[in-house]
Amino acid sequence: MERGAAPGGGKVPVFRLRGITKRFGGVTAVEGVDFELLPGEVHALVGENGAGKSTLMKIVGGLYAPDEGSLEVGGEPAAFSSPRESEAAGIAMIPQELDLFPELSVAENLYVGRRRPRTRWGGIDWGRMRREAGEKLASLGVGLDVSAPVKRLSTANQQLVAIARALLREARAVVMDEPTAALTGREAERLFGIIAGLRRRGVGVVYISHRLEEIFRIADRITVLRDGHLVKTAPASALDPDELVRLMVGRPLSEFFSRHPHEPGEVVLEVRGLGREGEFADVDLVLRRGEVVGLAGLIGAGRTELAQTIFGIRTPDRGEVRVFGEVLPPGSPREAMERGVFYVPEERKSQGLIAPFSVKDNITLSVLERFTRFGFVSRGPERELAGRLAGALSVRGGGIFDPVSRLSGGNQQKVVLAKSLAREPAVLLLDEPTRGIDVGAKSEIYRLIDRLAGEGRAVLLISSELEEILSMSDRVVVMREGRISGEFGREEATQERIMAAATGVRGPSAAVAEEEAGR
C-alpha cells in the first residue's frame, strides 16, 4: 500500500464522510455525520439500535446515496452508485444481515461477483477455486467442506463464510457490521487475530459491535452515534466503558445484568431421551417454574436443534417432551404453543418476523385466534395488545402500524420478544435473544427475563456469550456434539468449567482441544 503523507504529517484517510444525511421517508437515519477511517486503524462505530451505524456504512458501501454530504476516498471526492463501484475503490463490506447464496457451494460463495480463477482454455478452474477457498477459510481457522452448499452450514459457519468473502479481496478498508453477533468466543478470537493482521498491513477497519469488551480490546478510535447524530469521536484510550455507555444511551446505565434468583418451583418442562439423527442424542432436561436455565455450548453443539425440536418445528426420532406432566405431541409448534411453550428463534430475519407486516401484525400473529369472533379479527383489542407490548419493550423507530422491516435490528428483536410475550408462555425458549442488540436494549431484555422468571415462568436461555449465561442463569447446562456434557448450579458455574464441558477437555489443554474440536 502506498499512501502519500498528507501535509501536516497525518495520513490520508482511506475514506472520509462529511456532513452525511440520509432520510427514509419521514425518518432521518443519520444527520450531518462526519466520519473518517485512517489506514491501519481499527475504528469502532457504536450506538444504540437504530442509531444509524449500518445506514452510514451502507453509504460507504454504495448501497445508499446520501441525501446530503460528501464522500472522499483516498483524498479524492467519490460517489458510489452501486456496491460494485465501492468495491472497485477498495472497500469491502461484511453486511449485518447474512446475505449468501444458499444453493451454491462454500467455495463459490466466496467468488460470486469476483474474478474467478480460470483454466488455460478459459473455463473456470474449479480445482484452484476450491483450493484457494479452503486456504482462505483455514486462515480463519475454519475447516469446512468447501464443495458443500452453504445452506447446510450453521449460522455461525455462514457468518465465517461471509467474513472470508470480504477478506478474499485485497481491500484498503474493511467494514464489519456486527461480525461477531453469531460467533462464539473462539471464532471471535480468530477474527481479532485477523483484524490485527489487517491493521499491520495498513488496512483500515470499521468495526460495528454491541459487545463493548470487544470494542475496548481492538479499537484504536471510537465513534459514537445517537439518534443519527455524531456524539463523539475519540481515541479508545480516552474512554472507559461507563463513559461509552453514557455517550451511547445519553444517561448512565445503573444495572446491566439484573437477576433476582427465586426459589424454583414445580417441574414445567421435562425432556427425556430426546434425539434426532445426526443432530443431538439422549438429551434429558428439566425446567422449573421461575427458573432461568442457561444452555451453553460451542458452535454446532446442537442447541438450536434441541430447542426447535422441543417446540415442534423439528420432529424427534427418539424421546419425548412433557409439559406439566403431559406428553407433548411431537412435530407441532401449534400444539406446543397451546400447552404454553414458545420459542424465540435466533434467525430474526427468516424465522422471527414477517418483514412487510406491521409491528402490530407481527406481535399478534401467534395469538390472532384469541381475537377472533366468528372468524373475524376484532381489531380494537388486537391493537391494544400490540400497543401495550410494544410500549412495554420500548420498541422505537416506528409506530405499531409501520412495517417491521423499517426498524433497526435491535428493535426488530424486541418485536420478536413482544410476539412471544403475547402468548404468555409458561416455558420460554430464547435462542440468542440479545444477538445484535445494543447495551440499553440488552439490559432491558435482561430485566425482562428476570421479570418473566419472577412471574413463575421457566426460561431456557441459549447464548454464546458466556458472561450473559453466567450472570442470568440459575443453572447452566452445557452441550457438546449433540449431548449434554455438563450441568452446573449457579454457584458452581464458572467460565473454566463451562468451557471444559463444552470442549470436553479440562485444564490448560482446553485451548488445544478446542482447536481439535474445530476440525
Binding site: P345, Q351, L353, I354, P356, D361, E369, F376, V377
Partner: protein
Amino acid sequence: MSATQQTLRGRLSGLGFSRELVLLGVLLAELAVMSQLSPVFLTVGNLLNLSRFFVEVGLIALGMTLIIITGGIDLSVGSNLALVSVVVGFSYVWGLPLGAAIVLGMLVGLLAGLFNGLFSTLLGLHPLVVTLGTFALFRGLAYGLSDADAVSSFPAWFAYFGQAYLGPVPGQLLVFVAAVAVVWLVLSRTAFGRYVYAIGNNEEAARFSGVPVERVKVALYAATGLLVALAAVIYTSRVSTARGDSGLGLELDVISAVVLGGASIYGGTGTIAGTVLGVLIIATLRNGLLLAGVPSTWQLFLLGVLLLAAVFVNEFFRKEES
C-alpha cells in the same frame, strides 16, 4: 429512472395512489374509449350481459388470488372445470338425478383441489409442478370419462344456473358479487386471511409463529377447487353442454386477471379489489373490441399490449422499494 420521474411518482404515490386506484383509472379510461368506438357498449343491457362472460373466470380468479398470495399457483383450474362439467353431465346421463349430479360435481371439484393441496404440501413439492401434472390428469379424466362425447340433454331448470335473470341482472352476476364479498371479508378481516399473507411473505416465520401453514394451503386449494366447481356448473348451464374440452386455456385467463390486479407470483401481495378490477378490465376490453367490430385477430395483439401497458402504469405509480 430519471429524478423527475421519481419525484413525480413520489408525489403521486404520496397522494395515495394505490394500485387499485390506478387500475380503476385504467378501467374508466377503457370504458371511455370503448363507448366512443361503439354506441351499444355503454348501455346497461350490454354491460349486464357482458357480466355473464366473466363470472366463471372471476370466480376462479378469487381463489387463485389467495393461492398466488401464498406464493403458490394452480394451473389445473381449466382442466378441473372440464372434469366437473363432464362429471355433472355424464352422471346425469348415466341415471343420477341432476341435483345429485351437481352435488357430485361439486364434490369432485373440491376433491380435485384437495388433491392438489395435499399432494404438494405432504410431499413438499412446488404447486406449479404438481398442478402441471394435474393439468394433464384432470383434462385426461374429463376426456376419458366422457369418451370425448358431449352431453346436452339437460332438463329445462338446469338453465337457471347460467341463463337466469333477476330483472335485468344475470343470475350468475349475483353469485359472483356474493363470492367477492365473502372472499374479500375472509382475506381482509379474518385470521385466516392474515395467515395467507403471512405464508406468502415468509412461510418459515409463519410456521415458527404457529400458523398452520399446511392446513391453510390445503384449505385454499380445496376452496379453489370448489369455486372452480361452481364456475363449472354455471358454465355448463350457460352453454348447456358438458364436454371434455371446456375451459381450455382458462388458467391463463385467470392468471392474467390476477396478476393484472397486482398480485405478485412471488407471493405476499395481492388484493381482491385488484383482482376484480383485473377481471373487469380484460372482460370489457374483449367485449368492447368485439362490439366495435375490431377483428378478433387484432384482439389478441391488443390484449397483450394492454396487459403490458396497464401493469407498466401500475408499476410506475408503485412506491419505490429500496
